[in-house]
């Protein structure tokens, strides 16, 4: 398989940031009361991840290894400030609900860990695809959790009424997010157990 495609696939399922690496859990629980919120924050993360990966891949020869962490943080903070000014123009009402978390993308562990583990060692093109794959994997996780919680909590999807009643109100409460993530993680582990015959340790060992 082409390496770039493999990098994309790697971020989506085998090393999914939320369910396998268990990084950046805060937004995964906090903003996923509906699909729209998850979608908007996911898109912001894709943007920041791709652009910071590319920036670090281009400028890595200028960054002294001993001050790399502050340098990465500044690069991420730069792109977060950019997206923080773009999003309110695109979708003002949804932005209001995820505002705090868009600003908090700076401290999302997934972004800095990809910069440290991948973009600081590899050239521009693979870094771009790695960032894109991780970002899309994150977007996929947020949308999946958001869809489950919105459907069971309010009986809606994308704001459209489907069931017409609230089957499980607990899903939109704070506790619901924790339950949904716990169960999806267990399902990921179960699928891998069925395919490979051993219990994976990546999510559980963290």
């Amino acid at each position: 398989m082409n390496r770039n495609v493999q990098l994309l696939w790697n971020g989506l399922i085998p090393e999914n940031p939320i369910f396998r690496l268990a990084l950046s859990m805060c937004p995964a629980v906090a903003v996923t009361t509906s699909v729209q919120n998850g979608l908007l924050l996911g898109l912001a993360v894709v943007f920041v991840q791709v652009f910071s990966s590319c920036t670090v891949a281009i400028f890595k020869s200028f960054i002294h290894p001993r001050i790399r962490i502050p340098a990465y943080v500044i690069v991420i903070a730069l792109w977060v400030s950019v997206i923080d000014m773009i999003l309110p123009v695109i979708s003002p009402e949804v932005y209001k609900q995820v505002e705090l978390f868009v600003k908090l993308i700076v401290v999302f562990a997934i972004i800095i860990s990809r910069l440290e583990l991948f973009a600081s060692k590899e050239p521009l093109i693979p870094s771009f695809f790695d960032g894109l794959g991780m970002g899309i994997g994150f977007l996929f996780g947020l949308c999946l959790i958001g869809a489950i919680r919105e459907f069971f909590g309010t009986g809606q999807l994308f704001g459209f009424d489907i069931l017409g009643f609230n089957p499980l109100l607990i899903m939109v409460l704070p506790a619901g997010g924790f339950f949904v993530i716990g169960f999806i993680m267990a399902i990921f582990n179960w699928v891998e157990f069925k395919l490979t015959g051993k219990i994976p340790t990546s999510g559980g060992a963290h």
Partner: protein, 320 residues
């Protein structure tokens, strides 16, 4: 022995914070006139002398309005005097906004047949009450871990043993309070005068990172024992969302220095509490028969969900 030392350190820290809070309450609890809120739709005013019951029963003798818009008078439902006829309780049909100031004007106060003239009362929540509300809100009602889902990476990473969770909780609380104050000072004295509000994110995360590095260096020289205990956590703190969220919340709601400090303290103690509770459960969980696919993080998430459910019960405290 070492665990004992660590616990003693924790107790000293908690006591000093409580002392600081008490001093803060004492200093800032300025005299606010003789009116106060009873419930969210009741105001108590005290006249100092016994007044006539027939005069007090007449609701038309009282004018109540918010200090910011004096034109809008609030409808009074009833006025009752207490047994000594010194203080009156004014009840309103609609709930009041407890964070704003109200003015009560009592017209032609009648006392034992004489008229004492018009008396004005200023009613507002005292500074101490506001700070206590912020503290309780940040620590229990809106616990940053269980109802705002912040700091989860560290929460699940460090909550495997009780001892490490105590160390992390103490370190985090100290860094949180100090960085909340520092970010407030930077925002008020540097960013706002220069109209650089859009640089908040970069400046705050830079401040926290520099500050953590500084504490790390100072502690390494001053107290090697403490450094060995807390050094690992210091580095982890930079990746905790709460450390950036609290200064951002402070900046957005325009909190003053005291409010910023108390919000930081509440957030830090709330995080420490959540971490310690979780560590207690996870130590027991090691001994349980958990289904293999749930072992590790998945079951920790389910436990956190149950904690979040029980923390919903604290929302009853929001009457303060």
């Amino acid at each position: 022995m070492k665990a004992c030392k660590l616990q003693r350190l924790g107790i000293i820290t908690v006591i000093s914070f409580v002392f600081l809070a008490v001093v803060a309450l004492g200093v800032s609890d300025a005299a606010t006139g003789s009116g106060s809120f009873k419930k969210d739709n009741e105001i108590v005013i005290s006249f100092g002398v016994p007044v006539d019951e027939s005069w007090a029963k007449n609701a038309a003798n009282f004018l109540v309005f918010e200090k910011t818009d004096p034109d809008i008078q609030l409808p009074i439902e009833s006025v009752t005097l207490d047994a000594k006829r010194i203080s009156a309780l004014i009840r309103f049909s609609e709930p009041l906004n407890l964070s704003s100031e109200y003015e009560v004007i009592a017209k032609d106060v009648a006392s034992e047949g004489k008229t004492l003239g018009t008396v004005e009362f200023l009613v507002k929540k005292s500074q101490g009450q506001i700070l206590f509300t912020i503290f309780l809100g940040a620590m229990l009602i809106n616990n940053f871990v269980f109802t705002k889902y912040l700091g989860l990476c560290i929460f699940f990473g460090v909550s495997q043993k009780k001892e490490t969770s105590i160390g992390m909780g103490i370190t985090f609380t100290i860094v949180m309070v100090l960085s909340a104050i520092m970010c407030w000072a930077l925002l008020t004295f540097v960013l706002n005068p220069l109209h650089l509000g859009f640089l908040k994110i970069i400046v705050f995360i830079g401040t926290v990172a520099i500050f953590v590095q500084a504490v790390d260096t100072i502690l390494r020289k001053l107290n090697p024992y403490l450094f060995k205990k807390l050094g690992v956590f210091l580095v982890l703190i930079v990746t905790n969302c709460i450390i950036l969220a609290v200064p951002l919340i402070n900046a957005d709601s325009g909190n003053g220095p005291m409010e910023s400090l108390i919000l930081g303290l509440g957030a830090g103690l709330g995080f420490a509490l959540a971490l310690f509770l979780m560590a207690c459960v996870r130590e027991k969980l090691e001994l349980c028969k958990v289904p293999p696919v749930f072992r590790g993080l998945p079951i920790a998430f389910v436990v956190a969900g149950l904690f979040a459910l029980s923390f919903l019960g604290f929302s009853g405290l929001s009457i303060f």
